[in-house]
């Protein structure tokens, strides 16, 4: 396992950001699903935490949170479709969803740093995740049981929507300064 053994085998192991197997890819896509669930749960919790008066007064934020929740659900579906094409054991999506909901159900409104700031962090985190994942898949020459280009295309689509989300939130924040 260690380097000396690697040298004895004539191979120089090096570390790198790459995805080498169906299992690793499935696990990363699963983490993407959890991140999307976190985004949805935070957006939903934020919306509930807004006072009734604020909700009616601030259509823009209401629309933003509603759109974020819908987009996350759509992203989850696209990630689930990719995982279904991989030769790995099924993963318990429902249990994870329940866990994330339970976690955020306990979060008090004051635990959040502000609706817009939190949404910006959500979008930026998801963007960073998809960006790193695309780079790691591109760095690998492993064969997956789903078409590599299809996986990358789907992930690029998700990354673009997260980038658009960052711009949307940033614009609203700048208008309100």
């Amino acid at each position: 396992m260690y380097a000396t053994d690697s040298i004895a085998r004539g191979t120089a192991v090096s570390l790198g950001q790459q995805v080498d197997s169906d299992r690793q890819l499935a696990r990363l896509l699963q983490i993407g699903i959890v991140l999307e669930e976190v985004v949805e749960a935070r957006a939903s919790r934020h919306y509930q935490s807004l006072a009734a008066e604020e909700r009616t007064l601030d259509d823009e934020i209401e629309a933003l949170l509603s759109h974020a929740a819908e987009e996350s659900a759509d992203h989850r579906k696209r990630l689930e479709d990719l995982i279904e094409g991989l030769t790995v054991d099924s993963v318990p999506f429902d249990e994870i969803e329940t866990l994330v909901e339970a976690r955020y159900g306990k979060t008090k409104p004051e635990d959040f740093d502000g609706v817009l700031y939190d949404q910006l962090c959500n979008e930026e985190t998801a963007y960073k995740f998809y960006d790193d994942l695309i780079e790691a898949i591109e760095a690998s020459d492993a064969a997956f049981s789903v078409d590599r280009e299809h996986v990358i295309d789907v992930l690029r689509g998700l990354r673009k929507e997260e980038r658009d989300g960052v711009k949307e939130v940033t614009t609203i924040m700048e208008e309100r300064e």
């Binding site: 396992m1 260690y2 380097a3 000396t4 053994d5 690697s6 040298i7 120089a12 192991v13 090096s14 570390l15 790198g16 950001q17 790459q18 995805v19 080498d20 690793q24 696990r27 990363l28 699963q30 983490i31 959890v34 991140l35 976190v38 993963v91 318990p92 994870i96 866990l99 994330v100 976690r103 962090c121 959500n122 930026e124 985190t125 960073k128 995740f129 790193d132 994942l133 790691a136």
Partner: protein, 146 residues
């Protein structure tokens, strides 16, 4: 986490275990890379002001290097705990190693919001077990392959 962070984490842990500068060979063993690869990356860390290498003694992290190493170790702890507590992954140590180079610190912070991590993290990390001591699982030190 990028590759440089994996090295910083390894140097930090070896320094802690040995209470001395980390021997390059020990760092290479921990990361399962060749000593030549380790030397090359340690040189890069030195040029970025994150580590200092003294011939025949080994490598030590600078203050900036220690901060980054502890952040990297925390990210690793989050990944391990997330795999165990949320996804119920049995081979979490093996999978955490595969994932750490792809999971950025900001992403780990989001995952951290749905796990119960102890305040002592990352000091809870046990390099012998290659895992957090606070994890609710039975662990034995990993044996190097023959």
């Amino acid at each position: 986490m990028n590759t440089a962070n994996q090295y910083l984490k390894a140097i930090y842990l070896v320094q802690q275990q040995d209470n001395n500068p980390a021997a390059t060979g020990r760092v290479a063993d921990m990361l399962d890379v060749s000593p030549a690869s380790a030397n090359e990356m340690i040189g890069k860390l030195e040029s970025r002001g994150l580590a200092e290498h003294e011939k025949y003694k080994g490598v030590s992290l600078t203050d900036d290097g220690i901060v980054r190493a502890r952040d990297a170790l925390q990210t690793y702890c989050i990944i391990e705990r997330f795999l165990v507590n949320v996804l119920g992954v049995e081979n979490f140590r093996e999978e955490a190693k595969e994932l750490e180079s792809v999971i950025d610190g900001t992403v780990a912070e989001r995952l951290d919001t749905i796990i119960d991590r102890k305040p002592e993290c990352p000091d809870c990390f046990d390099p012998e077990l290659d895992a957090c001591r606070c994890l609710d699982v039975e662990l034995e030190p990993e044996q190097p392959a023959d």
